[in-house]
Structures are given as structure tokens and as C-alpha cells.
């Protein structure tokens, strides 16, 4: 992040030398501060059930679930530059995979989470394959249509999906006689899955693969010229992104213990998009800010009017595009740079 903060070394020699020595030190300090923040956040998230319970805790489980879905969408749209206005579809497929496996086939809920991920990985990869030929706007159109069509398809296969009635599940109890309520157990389960997926995404993006993914977004011709297999990367990332969102959907089915086709309509997809716009395109931490926003803001807005949440979402979508195109994460990154005086770096917020 602070890699070129020592670049001002053309100034007076003494200062330059001081700079050169100081640069790694500030970088190291920045890094340890970053790790410390991360630990505090994780510890706070793990300790949360001590302070809140019942419905509040359920809402925070929902935040974590949204965060996973947003991370998935951000991998695709934020990092790889492929539009998806239809990620609600994958969320729905994941949720239904879980619900059908639990309710119709009697499989343990733990197994259904990776299964939903795999199903969505495959579906996403297959959808990503033809989507390769679609750029920008056309991909937006295709995915938007997907989002519009999915509730109908879910209703159509009534024998499996229970039609518009949906499927009712029961909330699982904590295993091994742990002294936890259902909500607490589900919260910890979600938190564990979220941490694993965030670490995986961070590693994926931090390395060679991540640079390739971003290179395709920034200049796909140059990326191709450097030997990056564009179509392979793009369709794989489509699959991975769908898998993340599918896992989120699976968790939501378990946590809410109910699925119905109309909860996976086009507005879910727009909600997810709102989340990454607010949180910040091409950032990992943005997923969390975005998730907090899309979980809690509609709740507060609901008090004004049933229609208010969407009006507020709309205003935020447009407003952020004008004034904070990199979302909350981008904004905080700027603040962070100012505060730690690391000089101007053009790095990605993380």
C-alpha cells in the first residue's frame, strides 16, 4: 500500500535519507495497525453475542450473510469488471439447493452449504461461458433478465420448490450440546463461514491470480497480450463469484428457515448491487460496510413508509455515484492515508 511513499527521494539528501529509512518503518507501522484493526473487528464480531441476542443477533447473522454475497459480487463486478445485475438469482439458487436438500432429501444442513457453493459454481461458470461474449451493457442486460426470470422458474418446478408457498425449514440446534441458543449457534456458524471465505478471497486477490483479475478489468487487451487467458479467468471468476453468493444464499435459507420464490426477485439483485456501490467497488472491507447498510438502513426507513427503503436506496445509489464512487471503503482509505501521512498512494482500499 505504501510501496512508493519513499519515492520523493529526489529532494534534499538528508531528508531523502531520512525518508528512505522512515518509509519502510511507516509501512510496517501501517501494516501492524491494519492487522490490529482486523483482529479487533474479528474479536468484536465473535464477542457480539455477549451483548446482543435474539432478533438483533439474527440481524447480525444476516449482515454476515450479505457480506459474503457482496464479496462474491464484488469479485466479479468490482475486481473483474463484469457487470452482474442478477446476482440475486445465484443467491436464490443457493438457498433453494439447501432447502431442497434438507427438506426433500433429509441431508444434514452442514453438508448443504458446500453443496450450494458447488451448484452455484457450476451454474455460474456455465452462465459465465456465454456471457464472455457479452460486454458491458449486454452483460448487464442478460443478467438483469436472469434476475427477472428466476422467481418464475422457481415457481414452475413446484414439486421440488413448493411453488409460491416456498419451503419451511426448522432452525438447527447447536451441536455437541453446546450451551448456545439457536440464534447464537447460527451466528457463530455464519461468522466462521464468513471468515474462511474472506481469508480465501483476500489470498486469491493478493496474489498473481488477483493481479490477473484486475488486469482484465483495467485493460483486457493488454492482459491478453501479457499471456493472461481472459476467457478462462472471466468464466472461472464468474463461477467463484456465483459460489460465494450461493453459499450466502444457503446460509440465509438456514438462518431464516424459510425460502420463497418472491424473495429472490430483481430487487434482491439491486439490493446486492447497492451494497457494493455503498461499500466500495473493488474492495474487500467494502462488503462489510455494504452489508451493514443494506441490512439496517431499510429497517430504519421502514418506519417512515413501506416504500421509503427503496427511495433511500435509489438516492444513495445515485448520490454515491456522484460524490463517492469508491464507496465507504474508498472514502475510509483516503481518510486513513491522510491520517497516517503515508503520502498519496494510488493503491486499492482493502
Amino acid at each position: 500500500m505504501a510501496a512508493d511513499s519513499g519515492a520523493g527521494a529526489t529532494a534534499k539528501t538528508a531528508e531523502a535519507r531520512a525518508d528512505a529509512v522512515a518509509a519502510p518503518r511507516t509501512a510496517a507501522r501501517g501494516r501492524s495497525l491494519y492487522v490490529a484493526t482486523l483482529l479487533v473487528v474479528v474479536a468484536g464480531a465473535a464477542g457480539l453475542p455477549l451483548f446482543v441476542s435474539g432478533f438483533r443477533l439474527f440481524q447480525f447473522s444476516q449482515v454476515l450473510i450479505y457480506a459474503i454475497a457482496l464479496l462474491g459480487l464484488n469479485l466479479l463486478t468490482g475486481y473483474n469488471g463484469q457487470f452482474s445485475l442478477g446476482h440475486g438469482a445465484f443467491y436464490g439458487i443457493g438457498a433453494y439447493t439447501t432447502a431442497i436438500m434438507i427438506d426433500r432429501w433429509g441431508i444434514g444442513y452442514g453438508w448443504t452449504i458446500p453443496a450450494a457453493g458447488i451448484v452455484c459454481l457450476v451454474v455460474g461458470f456455465l452462465f459465465g461461458r456465454p456471457a464472455l461474449r457479452l460486454e458491458g451493457l449486454y452483460l448487464a442486460l442478460a443478467t438483469f433478465s436472469l434476475a427477472l426470470a428466476v422467481p418464475q422458474v422457481l415457481k414452475y418446478f413446484e414439486d421440488w420448490t413448493g411453488g409460491s408457498q416456498g419451503i419451511v425449514l426448522s432452525k438447527p440446534k447447536a451441536p455437541l450440546h453446546l450451551p448456545l441458543t439457536e440464534d447464537q449457534w447460527l451466528y457463530f456458524l455464519t461468522l466462521a463461514v464468513a471468515i474462511v471465505l474472506f481469508v480465501l478471497a483476500s489470498n486469491l486477490l493478493g496474489g498473481r491470480t488477483g493481479r490477473a483479475i484486475v488486469a482484465i478489468r483495467d485493460n483486457h487487451i493488454a492482459a491478453e497480450a501479457m499471456g493472461i487467458n481472459n476467457s478462462l479467468y472471466k468464466s472461472v471468476i464468474f463461477g467463484v463469484s456465483a459460489a460465494y453468493t450461493g453459499i450466502a444464499g444457503a446460509l440465509s435459507a438456514i438462518v431464516i428457515a424459510f425460502v420463497a420464490p418472491d424473495s429472490f426477485d430483481v430487487f434482491l439483485s439491486i439490493t446486492l448491487l447497492t451494497g457494493i456501490v455503498i461499500g466500495g467497488f473493488g474492495t474487500i472491507s467494502g462488503a462489510i460496510y455494504g452489508a451493514l447498510f443494506i441490512q439496517f438502513v431499510p429497517n430504519w426507513a421502514q418506519d417512515i413508509s413501506k416504500a421509503a427503503p427503496w427511495a433511500i436506496f435509489g438516492l444513495f445509489l445515485i448520490g454515491f455515484m456522484y460524490v463517492m464512487p469508491r464507496g465507504i471503503a474508498g472514502f475510509l482509505h483516503l481518510v486513513w492515508i491522510r491520517a497516517t501521512r503515508q503520502g498519496v498512494t494510488r493503491g486499492e482500499g482493502r
Binding site: 463486478t77 457487470f83 445485475l85 456465454p130 461474449r133 457479452l134 458491458g136 451493457l137 449486454y138 448487464a140 442486460l141 442478460a142 438483469f144 433478465s145 436472469l146 427477472l148 426470470a149 418464475q152 422458474v153 415457481k155 414452475y156 487487451i221 430483481v266 430487487f267 439491486i270 448491487l273 456501490v277 413508509s305 413501506k306 416504500a307 421509503a308 427503503p309 427503496w310 427511495a311 436506496f313 435509489g314 438516492l315 444513495f316 445509489l317 445515485i318 455515484m321 456522484y322 464512487p325
Partner: protein, 293 residues
């Protein structure tokens, strides 16, 4: 056979509605290479305006005219206020802004008018029209007529007026048009206004069929997307042909392919969009753009 002809005619009627909305999409796309995802919901909102005017006791055609004018001004104002600041921004930005408009229109309509479905009158008589053995709905024929009149007007406007020429020029070559003294940015605004007016007509023609509610345009917008994709986003003629084609296909598939029926109608539109995009991304009438690398 009679059923077939009837289905085709009613397909043409809904197709005409899709065509109007698709034309609105194409008009904006041609000028700015942007698809307005809020087009359908702007149309829905205009239809609510018409509903209010009718409730106030104005006669239908007066309402119709006022609504079209209101929609035109509304479209123009939205372009000037909301879209202009992001003119020239990456496509994703503009798409997100139009999505923002989409949800705002839906929620404001729900806020003002509630989510309860409202009946919307048709200006055409209830009595079906018989030609030989075949019965046509008067509203169907009327909708086709209105769409055709709008198309002819639009054609005349673009073909024979200076303003129309200026708009075409601004869309085709903004830089040169600007050098000729055309106010390109305002032309885009006019394009949005015209598109909104077309949307309003589509909304008023479709509302008697599907009833008026804040989400009524969801499916129709999908069909309009399909129409514009089939015809090609760069061709107004294509949008019209595409609309009619999609309308007829929708009806025939719904009637004759039993497993699809009415329940998978939207999926048919999705399949059409994806197939066309894969086989012939420019659509039937679109021009293929060659990009320099």
C-alpha cells in the same frame, strides 16, 4: 386457424406496446450508448399521472395528451438533472444511476398511490370486433393503431424537421455536430424526453390489460429488452420489428407449447435475449461496430 390468427393479432397488439418501449430504449441507446433501466418504471409513473388526471374527471384523450407532454418534460428534466452529471462516465456508473431511478420511481409510486392494483380504462369500446369468424379485441386493434400513429409521427419528425436532423446528427457524430452549432447535450435531453413520451404511451396502452400497479412494467420491460435486442439496439426500425416479433412469439409459444403456458413467459424472453446475444449480438437490423484495438 382462427385461433392462430387471433393469437397473432393479439400478439401484434402487445408487440406494439413492447415496440413503443423498445423504441424508447433504442432512442436513448443510439444517442448515448446507454440502456435506461428505468424506462419501464418511468412509463409506469406516467401512467399513474394519467390515472390521477382521469380521476380528476378529464376526458381520456385530453389526459392522454397532457400525460405525453408531462412525460416529455419529465424525461428532459431527469436527463438534465440526474444523467448529465455522469455524462461520459463509465457505463457501469450510468447503469447504476438508471437503476437508482428505477427503484426511486417504483417506491415513490407505491408511496403516493399504494401498491394496490388499480383498473385503468381503455379508450376503445369494450365490444369485440368481428371480421368473418374471427373476433378481435377492440383494445388490441386500438393499441396497434396508436403505436403505428406514434411511429409515423416519429419517422416524420426525424426525417423532415431540422430538429430531428440535428438530433440524429448529435447521436451519430457528437463532435462534428457540435462544430456545426448543434447543442449536443440538449439533444440528448430531448432524446430522453421523447423516449419518456413513448414510454408513457406504452404504459397507457398496457395498463388496461395488466392493471396499474407500481411493478406492472417489470415483465414488459424485460420484453422490451428482448425486442430491442432482437431488432438491434442501434436500429429504431429493428426495435419495432423486434417488438412485434417478440409479442407474436410470446403469444404463440404461450398458446401452443403446453409446458410453457403463461408461467414461464419471462423465461422465454430471457432465452430470446441470450440466444440473440450469442448468435447475432447486433440483432437483426443492428449495425455491427468494429472496434479498433
Amino acid at each position: 386457424m382462427d385461433i392462430l390468427i387471433q393469437q397473432i393479432v393479439s400478439g401484434l397488439a402487445t408487440g406494439g406496446i413492447y415496440a413503443s418501449l423498445a423504441l424508447a430504449l433504442v432512442m436513448i441507446y443510439q444517442a448515448t450508448e446507454v440502456v435506461n433501466f428505468a424506462q419501464g418504471n418511468m412509463a409506469m409513473f406516467s401512467t399513474y399521472v394519467a390515472w390521477s388526471l382521469l380521476q380528476a374527471g378529464l376526458p381520456y384523450w385530453v389526459t392522454f395528451t397532457i400525460t405525453v407532454i408531462v412525460a416529455f418534460v419529465g424525461g428532459l428534466v431527469i436527463e438534465r438533472l440526474v444523467i448529465r452529471p455522469v455524462e461520459g462516465a463509465p457505463i457501469l456508473t450510468i447503469v447504476i444511476v438508471t437503476l437508482g431511478l428505477l427503484v426511486i420511481f417504483t417506491s415513490v409510486a407505491g408511496w403516493i398511490y399504494s401498491y394496490i392494483q388499480k383498473p385503468f380504462p381503455s379508450p376503445f369500446p369494450d365490444k369485440p370486433i368481428r371480421i368473418g369468424q374471427i373476433v378481435f379485441g377492440a383494445h388490441d386493434l386500438g393499441a396497434i393503431g396508436v403505436t403505428l400513429v406514434m411511429l409515423v409521427l416519429l419517422f416524420l419528425f426525424f426525417r423532415f424537421t431540422t430538429l430531428g436532423l440535428a438530433m440524429r446528427a448529435a447521436a451519430q457524430n457528437p463532435l462534428s455536430s457540435r462544430l456545426c452549432g448543434i447543442r449536443v447535450s440538449w439533444m440528448l435531453g430531448l432524446g430522453w424526453g421523447l423516449a419518456a413520451a413513448f414510454g408513457a404511451v406504452a404504459g397507457m396502452m398496457v395498463a388496461p390489460v395488466v392493471f396499474l400497479d407500481p411493478n406492472m412494467m417489470g415483465g414488459i420491460q424485460l420484453y422490451a429488452f428482448a425486442a430491442a435486442t432482437v431488432g438491434g439496439f442501434t436500429s429504431p426500425l429493428g426495435a419495432v420489428v423486434g417488438g412485434l416479433l417478440v409479442g407474436v412469439t410470446e403469444n404463440l409459444v404461450g398458446t401452443y407449447v403446453s409446458f410453457i403456458g403463461t408461467e414461464l413467459k419471462l423465461t422465454v424472453a430471457l432465452a430470446m435475449i441470450i440466444i440473440v446475444l450469442l448468435v447475432r449480438p447486433a440483432g437483426l437490423f443492428g449495425r455491427t461496430t468494429v472496434r479498433r484495438v
